[in-house]
């Protein structure tokens, strides 16, 4: 396997693995937020704002994986 094909596989793995954890985390956070809203409907606005912010943080982990994948695809330092 040459470096190019290895890089493509690595890019795919990077995206896929990087979306696992944040996916679980976002699910947990959203579940708790929905529970919170159901328990206290008057706090919905605040909960939603915080939820969006935390979701963005978790999302950024996936984005790091994406950045690595993009590096491997478009700016691979190991390929001349």
């Amino acid at each position: 396997m040459d470096v190019s094909s290895a890089s493509v596989i690595a890019a795919a793995l990077a995206i896929g693995l990087a979306s696992l954890g944040p996916g679980i985390g976002q699910g947990n956070a959203s579940a708790s937020a929905v529970e919170g809203i159901a328990r206290q409907p008057e706090a919905e606005g605040k909960i939603r704002g915080t939820l969006l912010l935390t979701l963005a943080f978790m999302e950024s982990l996936t984005i790091y994986g994406l950045v690595i994948a993009l590096v491997l695809l478009f700016a691979n330092p190991f390929v001349k």
């Binding site: 993009l70 590096v71 478009f74 700016a75």
Partner: protein, 140 residues
């Protein structure tokens, strides 16, 4: 994709310039107008609160005066009623006394008249019996 070059510092400089410009033409004037407005609002709120307090004070005063005058007129009414009661009872007592006195005089007069009438009657009985005796004796 990850090629850093002179774009980086130039972007930073541009951003700082943008910040300075926006601070001058956007943030300062708008902050000023927003804070002016909030002081204006809080001022007029305190003004309104003071006015409300004044109104409340005046209302209280008015209510107090109302209660006072109500008490006053109630006491006046009570006094007038008491006076009227007193006058009425006095007059009633006087009239009763008068009536009693009148009856007494009437009774006394009646008794006197009865006595005199009795005396006259006795006198007449005496004279009539005398005459009867005379007539009878004449017959004898």
């Amino acid at each position: 994709m990850f090629d850093f070059d002179a774009t980086l510092p130039l972007m930073a400089v541009q951003f700082i310039l943008l910040m300075v410009v926006l601070n001058a033409i956007l943030f300062k004037p708008l902050t000023k107008v927003i804070e002016d407005r909030s002081t204006l609002i809080s001022n007029s709120q305190t003004g309104a609160k003071e006015g409300l307090e004044q109104v409340n004070a005046i209302t209280q005063q008015y209510e107090k005066a109302l209660i006072d005058s109500r008490r006053q007129y109630q006491s006046i009414i009570a006094k007038a009623q008491a006076e009227a009661q007193k006058t009425a009872s006095e007059q009633i007592a006087a009239a009763q006394a008068e009536a009693v006195a009148a009856r007494e005089t009437a009774t006394r007069e009646l008794a006197a008249q009865k006595v005199s009438a009795m005396a006259e009657l006795e006198k007449q009985v005496d004279s009539l019996s005398q005459e009867i005796v005379n007539k009878l004796l004449v017959g004898v």
